[in-house]
Symmetry: C2
Subunit: 334 residues, 2 copies
């Protein structure tokens, strides 16, 4: 493999070649370009993504979520290591628009995944920070494409489990994994509504030592609960298992379920259908965000809205009429 | 009370006075104005809504959903009748953008609620049809305001339980009731994701005869399942009860829970907070729909989008880039 010298900036073709040839250094630098907000980098990023696009997609994308304290980093370390022993190349990305690492993003603290980060078949990339959800989702999504073009065939996309980023991760992955702890109830308060229903699999983590019996109880409880949910469009019946990331038990069973899922959705056509749907949805999400930006970004609109909000709450004007007022103003300004 | 003669069209003031004085005839005609798509009616509707707005809001708004076959119409008939015996004035509205009455909307088939429709303290209004969800939601929302201004203090908003209208109903009501049947599993396939988690209360209907034992089992199963959900923002813990609309059992218990809920949210301030939030959300929903209409309504945009969708699915262009293309075109056209 060609050795790339570090220099200030490579040509688009050098990035493209490096990514396609599996250079970790170039992959990292290409992701940095994708994450950059500089205009010149944005143009470069477009060119790189456009070129690698036909080489992307050959992977299984797994979304992983769970509240802080559930043991996401140890789980991902154990799961990622297991996958590399099966000769998979594993890329680990994260979506964390809140960007305060102390809140629980595993990837800000690489030392917690030291072994995996030294594994040549694993690529760990902390999330870009200080962004809107839409911005971070775009960047993580394009980073995922770069990783795939670079030969990574399992992509783990981590999210913190307390915000709105779960829907974004669910919208860019094939399989959605929710980590939970035994003792259902209290710690669930941190999980946002709707996340349970997105899960293709729930893993009761930290099922070890004194905790095994409680974990089995929790497993049954979740299994029963998922049973009364509507079945996902994929035709898959969500499963609940237990695992110990520190004792390394139940990790292989997670992958086994992912493979079973993959077999099902390959057979029934859902895999491709869902990927196509996700691509189109990704485009429309971008369009709708841009549209809102165009409207809500205007200082006059902002001023009017805050006074209209007041009038609506105090029932001086109806919500429908308030919307008509401001849209008329907007159309005139166009 | 003044007697209103039927004439082709009343003045705005006549509608306003009639509604505020509790005339059912005028209320019906005012709702017809609100539902109309004629430009002149829209102007009249605005004036009426604006005038009655300060008199609206004095009610408890209950959303009711469940798949066809769950017995919504008999439940609402029993529940409505019970409420009138407690001297409440009950208005029953529905959201049904699909508008095919055969699909299960109770309100298209008034004969099924014959007794209630002849009750002078109940007002039943079938939903307007053949509309977008946003359009129907606006009309149902404004009809609700008219009913409140006309003295109805319990508003039941029914939805069919298989579409997207549940979120709209949840967004305009204080308390969300999900009707289910025993024998969880099969019939749940009809309930869309996320609806379970919106429920403040689940009622296992048709708990009578041979079905009592199964209904109690279902009740326990749902109670356990709701237990592991995140608690709603209201601080309320959702409850599951069973009822028989035909035997008239368990109907009073539903109202009891609604009152308990009301007491809680009055005390913790959630009631007002949520109502204010709903008003503002209603305004923003309208703005965002208008914005999308402005964009997606353009024939050129439509053409370009269908070709872009194709290019995105076949990985010829990235979703992010596709969105940029079309937004540039749109901005130029402005």
């Amino acid at each position: 493999m060609k050795v790339y010298k570090r220099k200030n900036r490579l040509s688009a073709q050098e990035y493209i070649d490096g990514v396609l040839q599996g250079s970790r250094v170039i992959l990292s630098r290409a992701i940095t370009i994708v994450e950059s907000n500089l205009e010149s980098d944005k143009i470069l990023a477009k060119e790189i993504i456009q070129a690698i696009l036909p080489h992307s997609g050959n992977s299984i994308r797994i979304g992983i979520t769970g509240v802080p304290g559930v043991g996401k980093s140890t789980f991902i370390e154990a799961f990622g290591k297991y996958l590399t022993t099966l000769n998979h190349k594993v890329a680990i990305l994260s979506i964390d628009p809140s960007s305060q690492r102390s809140k629980g993003s595993i990837l800000g603290d690489k030392t917690r995944m030291e072994e995996l980060s030294n594994n040549e078949n694993a690529y760990i990339r902390p999330s870009s920070t200080g962004e809107t959800l839409g911005g971070v989702a775009n960047k993580t999504g394009e980073s995922m494409l770069l990783c795939e073009a670079s030969g990574y065939d399992v992509i783990l996309v981590e999210t913190v489990g307390v915000g709105q980023s779960e829907t974004a991760v669910h919208g860019m992955t094939d399989f959605f994994l929710l980590l939970m702890l035994s003792g259902a109830g209290d710690e669930l308060q941190g999980i946002k509504k709707g996340i349970m229903e997105m899960a293709d699999m729930v893993v009761i983590n930290k099922a070890d030592g004194d905790n095994i019996k409680n974990s089995e109880m929790a497993r049954l409880q979740y299994q029963n609960a998922l049973h009364i949910f509507p079945q996902p469009d994929s035709g898959w019946t969500p499963v609940v298992t237990k695992a110990s990331s520190t004792k390394n038990t139940g990790i292989d069973a997670v992958w086994e379920q992912v493979l079973k899922y993959k077999e099902l959705v390959d057979q029934n056509g859902y895999f491709t259908k869902n990927r196509n749907h996700q691509k189109i949805k990704w485009m429309y999400n971008n369009i709708n965000e841009e549209l809102k930006h165009l409207f809500y970004g205007s200082p006059e609109i902002k001023n009017k809205l805050s006074s209209l909000e007041h009038d609506v709450v105090s029932s001086q004007v109806s919500p429908v009429k308030a919307a008509q007022y401001i849209m008329e103003d907007f159309k005139k300004s166009m």
